[in-house]
Amino acid sequence: MKHLNWALAALAGLALTACGGGNDAPGDDTQDGDVSDRILIDKDPFPSTYTPLESNPVVIRGATLLDGEGGLIENATLLIEDGDITAFGAPDAVEIPTDNDKLVEIDAAGKWVTPGIIDNHSHLGVYPSPSVSAHQDGNEISAPVTAEVWSEHGIWPQDPGFTRALAGGITSLQILPGSANLFGGRGVILKNVPGRTVQDMKFPDAPYTLKMACGENPKRVYGYGGGRFPGGAPYSRMGNIAGYRTAWAEAVEYKRKLDSYIDEGGDPPARNLEMETLVGVLDGDILVHMHCYRADEMAQILDMAEEFGYTVSSFHHAVESYKIADKLAEAGACSSMWADWWGFKMEAYDGVRENIPMVHAAGACAIVHSDSDIGIQRLNQEAAKALSDGRRVGIEISKAEAWTWLSLNPAKSLGIDGQTGSIAVGKDADIVIWDGDPFSVYTQAEQVFIDGAVVFDRNEPALQPVMDFELGQPGEGDMK
């Protein structure tokens, strides 16, 4: 019951509190009142103001279509109405409205149509271009546990990187805090549309996420920070695990108090932004995304998650997932991976080019991610490299299956697969028309649709966004 209330509060974006999510102690009259009388925390104090751009109905004909769920249709017809996918399939299987004079017809013969790419690991906005000192907003390194910070509060919506990612076919993305901390803070999921505010970009009704980090980074930044700020624990991987467990234990206690208040009334616990995020995880509302390279560490994290009763949505970077892909499949944890990054630090030393297909082949959830403002522009090429490397060692995966690494699997890891991530009737029309086979290095995104509206067109300068920062600068409006 209590979970239902909380979930509803988040879902509807409603503040059930009297005014703005305050924490005023309830009066005595609530002592025995209904659950609905409780003062609940506003779980959505920075609500999305995203609204899809105006669009006309569109029919795209003749393309090779990857549906993002493993299917491929040659000479496909795809119908978009009111921003949603309303029909797709063979030409004779799709009924096109004949009475709508606003219908836009696109001949895509020779081209490919796919769901838009979803990058579930980006720092656009929090580490934007230009990378000047004033723009370093992605790591709140003041303490190893900063679950109270939210990446959206560090995002600069004018980051030109968003426009480059758009030209690479990115339609949704997760912006994460960095990996300095054990708990880095909340991530946020965006539609890749230019906005004046980050709220204008926020993916409606998407869950929040929590960034956590394993291994070298937290212990380097704190314990071995060269005596620099802030110093202190953790000094070791032992300290990392102790740090997580201490915080989770505190969160369990905080949740007990909150649940007690919701169930039985009395005094609510004092607000604690850090605990609210962790309790959100324990309640299943907030999804955990955990930076973790080494196989042995991932296995320990899975045990810890079980100890405290939550699940890991995706391990990020996960360069050793190929060593424990069977265990990851069993746990239902995704791996968000690069095709071939390796060696820049010890925990990345065992990277192999076949990591992604080997994870896929074990039946685990494989995701291609970027963690890079350059890589995010060509994740299709990263998938192509991984696909071909896998095939060379006998892992037969079709291009249609491989596209799940780019859209449906990341959508699942972000809890938005009900709205986007594949070409399915009723889903958001977040799609890309490629000028050829997107597994070719020569292919580029020609048109990108988000909720049915063309937000990027390679052949139409008027549909190529230019961020404020680049106006009046060298190269403004240049083809990038």
Binding site: P130, W341, G343, V352, A361, A362, D373, Q381, G475, K480
Partner: protein
Amino acid sequence: MIFKTLLTGAAALAFTTGAALAQTVAITNAKAWTGTSQGTVDNATIIVVDGAVAEVRTGSAALPSGADVVDADGSWVTPGIIAPFTRIGLVEVGAEDTTNDISAGSSPYSVALKAADGFNPAATTVPITRLEGVTRIIVAPGTGNDLFAGKGMVADTSGAMDSILDDDAFVFIRMGEAGASQAGGSRSAAWTRLRAALSDARTFPARYLSHDAGDALTRVDAQAFGPAARGRQLILVEAHRASDIARLIDLARTAPELNMAIVGGDEAWMVAEDLAESKIPVILDPFQNLPASFQQLGASQENAARLIEAGVVTAFAHLADDGHQARLVLQSAGNAVANGVDHDDALAAITVAPAAIFGLENLGTIAPGAIADLVVWDGDPLEVMSAPTHIFIAGEEQSLESRQTRLRDRYLGLDNGDLPFAYKRGEAPE
């Protein structure tokens, strides 16, 4: 081409070393991209004798007796790829200082620091790079506490202890924001230091005999900078902003004896005509299209196409994590094609052009007399789904194995049999 041929002696030496081991090889049925006026030769047979290309001919004919025959089955054969800016062999694990010899922030020396002293042919990065078709690497040191990083080198990727082709190939310096920061805080500080260093080096050793010190450089650094300051060695300069490059062009006009090339050059297209006229080549990363700093505001993926169109000798590099990922230079070249570069020019930018910039005689082409660095591909070499099937360095076929392939094979199928994975070793390397 303004570059002197500096490496003839060293190249000939490597050639001889390889020849002692090399078999006679015939690659048949090749789609041979030659990098010469022959263009791409279909149905080609390439004959390799004593480590060098002896003949490129069309169609099948009698093959030399005893030749190892490789049937390319109609697929592409290219010269070995030359990665024109890397830190391969200088670093094993980036974040572990003990394994990282790229730069020396606490050294009293700068220009004299030789990358070759730290180069390890047995580094895991060497075969990992080779597997992507890269047979020659340009290896540059990184800057420590001076805008002068030191001396770069050229090596092959065979992993042999004698794989260094030239251990004193060029001087690498950084201008722009990096140089300004190293020199004291401004571009004028960097330029003053560069001009003073040129003067020190040009007057070495006389100045040091009479004054016992130079204005900018220690005795050791002044001596090391001497050949470059006198125009007998390449100066490779990192610069991005158009105005920084324009200053370098001005320097080249006032000191025409200097051999300079730009690396980075994100805004080079804005001064393309002047670069072409000054015959200053550019080594660029075709991925760069973000205003990553205020010196890269004009970055565009069309940089490469515009420079080539203007007649600038242009080579491609993959500059991100160049200690491990220089191998991605082929993907970089493919992306350049997607952004307007002709396919032939893109291949030249990772073969012919780097050979020209670094004076690598007899490398970068498939032609009679060329060192037989050859790669047989299973598809278009610039496609991300293609890979080499055979790699030759100076006529000697190379292993396609690396530490990464061994790790992969251990865990492939997650089948360890009766014992833990640690007992599964597959085929041990020779």
